[in-house]
Symmetry: C2
Subunit: 327 residues, 2 copies
């Protein structure tokens, strides 16, 4: 999950001088904030600082990121013509700043920890591109896919191919693992999730050239992991609404699981942070395959001290549970 | 789920002349908009037009409902002192306008269809009272319950007792069924859901004087229905993220199930509306216990014609599945 961010004074100091997209597009800055949590929070992996919407931005959609409002496309996709006019030619070259950031981050990390790169899923990217911004009910994107399924599938396939190309480039640039975020998985009914989201994630997983880099799929809020367990990927993300042990049982150990502390637990007193960390470790149980993580991104007001304490707790308490994995 | 609303021109005509809270507080107006969907959409039950936040408002919290922003408390709860200063004495008398609306609605319905009354769950009410408004991460309410658990439980118990009194009064006034909405159930991890929400819903269910009125519990987005199935209630609401047939299997027929069409399907072409209705009926299967409904409230831009068609589809297609229930 996102590690760099406004909860860190060191991040805010840089952010105060540059807007969000400038930070994404300047490898010196994005690599610097990517490495900050490794030094300050002491996590076991780094996550490249970026935004899922750099892909549509590189296809010619103008993007504003206003911190209080979230990302906004001033001209959202509403027609087949707009889909046909997306600037696919050369989009990956226009994302070369991401690849430069990967290389620069790898240098700064100097093999201390692995680097994870990420992409939004086609469905989550399409939801932003069609809605134009975050939404409460997502009635615009859903109205679009229900009323213009051919156009919707055209857009989703374009995005699926683009995500393959983008993640392959990130792996070639040096990412040690890649993650696909389907933030808006849970707004679809089970058959619509398969039709508009999961089939495109499956396509991506089957077409990546990973060179051995693990692939993590995080479909936030899904109620069933059975179909996800059949993907050609290595790890599934689990948000905090499920007991991670129940998910392990449900998928019969087919994948590693990443999760699943509620990020707002980091606002709790230390005893609660420790108790919840222990509860999750106990829920997963012993043996390999558990990547301890937050169940979603860290929030801006999170106390740094609590985040540091959380990482200490994971490192200390996981030993007895993960012993088998470390052999 | 909410039936009256901005998608109906007849509602907008009244809303144009009165602010939202005036409509809630004026029995002539709230009963009129409650009955509108029965005449226009032809649903089998009416849901009293109201807002879950009338309870904290009757306890002295000033509430503004701004249509584009949602409800806002200008002085949210942040301390034990504020909880102690809630005006509990006489709060139910200050909600007499709701009971008058129930009586007036019953007269207007003239036994055509039953009337459902509702309340927010203690957790969902507390989330609004402490956050002050809707939230993305709910870090204020969660920080509050984690750091001041005694104060949080005091507030939740006050709300649980108040909801019992409120729903009992609604039943006495004439409601034929009552529903408890836990809109924010899914933001809690499983053990926190039990501690901060479910135990208070259980308390309400065990302390209601229903006089035979069915009790419906809707905990939106929960991943497991096992614990809910043990509540002293009659029906569980299911949002559209689950297959309703899987939930039926999970709870072993312990309760009726209400749901679960994605409300945005009403933006789809008629064939899709019909197909989804049929899919849900087939998923639940034959026999008694299915209350067909949307998986959440209807959204403002929903086409009226599609909503009417949806109700027609349910009435037509459910016959073969619900035959046993009608014997």
């Amino acid at each position: 999950m996102r590690q760099a961010g406004r909860y860190l004074p060191e991040y805010r100091a840089i952010r105060a001088q540059h807007d969000f997209m400038t930070m994404c597009k300047t490898p010196e800055l994005s690599s610097e904030v990517t490495v900050q949590p490794i030094d300050i929070i002491k996590t076991d992996a780094a996550i490249l600082f970026s935004d899922i919407l750099v892909i549509p931005e590189a296809m010619g959609m103008h993007l504003d990121v206003i911190e209080s409002k979230g990302p906004v496309f001033d001209v959202p996709i509403r027609s087949v013509e707009q889909i046909e006019n997306l600037q696919l030619e050369g989009f990956i070259e226009r994302l070369d700043y991401v690849m430069q950031a990967v290389k620069m981050t790898k240098e700064k990390l100097n093999n201390r920890v692995p680097l994870i790169g990420f992409s939004g899923s086609p469905w989550t990217l399409a939801a932003y591109m069609v809605e134009g911004k975050g939404s409460k009910n997502f009635d615009i994107i859903k109205g679009f896919v229900y009323n213009e399924p051919a156009a919707a599938h055209k857009l989703l396939q374009i995005l699926a191919d683009s995500v393959v190309e983008y993640l392959n480039a990130k792996i070639r640039a040096g990412c040690d693992a890649v993650q696909i975020f389907d933030t808006w998985a849970s707004i679809l009914s089970p058959p619509d999730f398969e039709e508009y989201s999961l089939q495109y994630i499956r396509y991506i997983c089957e077409n990546l050239e990973t060179n051995g880099a693990p692939v993590i799929v995080f479909a936030k809020g899904v109620s069933s992991y059975k179909n996800l367990a059949e993907l050609k990927c290595d790890v599934l993300g689990v948000d905090w609404s499920r007991n991670i042990g129940d998910v392990r049982t449900e998928i019969g150990g087919a994948k590693g699981l990443q999760g699943n502390l509620d990020p707002t637990i980091l606002f709790a007193p230390k005893e609660k942070i420790r108790a919840e960390t222990e509860r999750i470790l106990r829920s997963y149980g012993t043996g390999a395959g558990h990547v301890f993580n937050l169940g979603h991104g860290i929030t801006p007001q999170t106390p740094v001290e609590n985040t540091q304490y959380f990482v200490e707790c994971v490192k200390e308490l996981s030993k007895q549970y993960h012993a088998e994995a470390e052999d």
